[in-house]
């Protein structure tokens, strides 16, 4: 087939796909609503949820996870464009990570030596490590599906962004239930759960986001 013939045929196809955001925003909102609903129905919100927002250590769980979520989704949106690879900036993602590590050190220093072990292990480590990945499934899938409709030229990095964004938002939903307010607990276990989901999403992205 001559290229000119192909051009004529392509030009006759005037149907364009809707822009990415038209899919991402509703899908992500739905996924997030589902995650919050699952937390509410299966675990319940913590009784002092509103009051806990006044506690700096406690509210930081929301701030840090929301920051990872928003930055991850934003990065994914940039990377969904072919030229996104050269437009994307990664350093903003490092900010909440550094803040979390700073908080971890601060909590380690300020927690009495005999209380550290207890603060680290807490009472709900297993629930946390199971629930955050479970709650991440829908949000991460929503972002990966949007990326699939896009045209990323860096599939693994886009998968990474999807994993980080989706699991950050999922961890935020989980924090509505979680009563562990020590950074020794949440930086460690939320962090581990988010890192695990992000790793898996990176591997999935590298496979399914090629086009």
């Amino acid at each position: 087939m001559k290229t000119e013939n192909l051009i004529v045929a392509l030009a006759a196809d005037s149907r364009t796909e809707p822009p990415l955001r038209a899919f991402l925003w509703p899908a992500l909102a739905l996924a997030l609503a589902m995650a919050v609903l699952v937390v509410l129905v299966s675990l319940g919100f913590r009784d002092d949820l509103l009051a806990s927002l006044g506690e700096p250590f406690s509210v930081m769980r929301f701030v840090l996870t929301a920051a990872l979520g928003v930055l991850g989704v934003r990065l994914a949106l940039v990377l969904a464009r072919p030229e996104g690879r050269s437009l994307a900036r990664l350093w903003p993602v490092a900010l909440p990570v550094l803040a979390a590590l700073g908080l971890l050190v601060w909590a380690y220093v300020s927690t009495p030596a005999e209380g550290r072990q207890m603060a680290l292990v807490g009472k709900t480590m297993t629930t946390c490590l199971v629930m955050i990945p479970l709650l991440s499934v829908l949000p991460v899938a929503a972002i990966l599906m949007s990326l699939h409709k896009g045209a990323t030229t860096t599939p693994a990095l886009a998968g990474f962004a999807a994993g980080l964004g989706g699991s950050g938002l999922a961890a935020m939903a989980y924090a509505m239930h979680c009563i562990e307010d020590s950074p020794l607990f949440y930086v460690t276990w939320y962090g581990l759960a988010i890192a695990g989901v992000t790793l898996v999403s990176t591997l999935i992205g590298a496979r399914i986001l090629r086009w």
Binding site: M1, K2, T3, E4, N5, L6, I7, V8, A9, L10, A11, A12, D13, S14, R15, T16, E17, P18, P19, L20, A80, R81, P82, E83, G84, R85, S86, G150, A151, T153, R210, W211
Partner: protein, 177 residues
């Protein structure tokens, strides 16, 4: 917004004349890109790769944001597809994106190369889709004429045509990997 941006914006809002003009404008530039990176493989293979790039541009044109510069977007697609195309043909090319600005456009020449791959892929489509693409592309039928010949409404022709190009891209992926 430059002239490419104007054309692409009109194209994305459904103006097929602007879209054809856009594709004809970028084709020599993309051909230049492909030949500069892999001219050693011969003109016919370069034309195959060029057509793959055009198909990719077609299916991903909704990822261009109105107002964004067209060239970085286009070159990113070209780079990705050229690397991919040659990797799947067993070769390897390095395509630094910065180089694209200095590449000279290449016209097809007096006797345009007949690329083989796309015809092969069209042959793998179901009969009706294959006929549709050939009628419109090669025989120069309009959407309405193709619809009459195949006993389909214009809307159905458009849907089928769009699906045919998506299938072509998927077939190509499977075929070459």
């Amino acid at each position: 917004m430059d002239d490419w941006g104007t054309l692409l914006a009109e194209a994305n809002s459904g103006d097929s004349r602007a879209y054809a003009a856009f594709l004809r404008t970028i084709t020599p530039v993309l051909r230049g890109v492909v030949r500069a990176k892999a001219g050693g493989l011969g003109e016919a293979i370069c034309e195959d790769v060029l057509q793959e790039v055009l198909l990719a541009v077609h299916l991903k044109r909704h990822t261009w944001q109105v107002g964004a510069p067209v060239r970085p977007w286009l070159y990113a697609i070209a780079r990705y597809k050229v690397v991919d195309a040659f990797r799947s043909r067993g070769g390897k090319v390095e395509v630094p994106i910065e180089d694209f600005d200095e590449i000279l456009a290449a016209e097809a020449g007096p006797d345009p190369t007949e690329a083989a791959d796309m015809a092969k892929m069209i042959g793998l489509l179901d009969d009706r889709s294959g006929r549709l693409v050939r009628m419109i592309g090669i025989e120069g039928s309009s959407v309405a004429e193709a619809g009459q010949a195949l006993n389909m409404t214009e809307g159905a022709v458009r849907v089928a045509l769009h699906r045919a190009f998506k299938t072509l891209a998927a077939l190509r992926e499977r075929h070459l990997k």
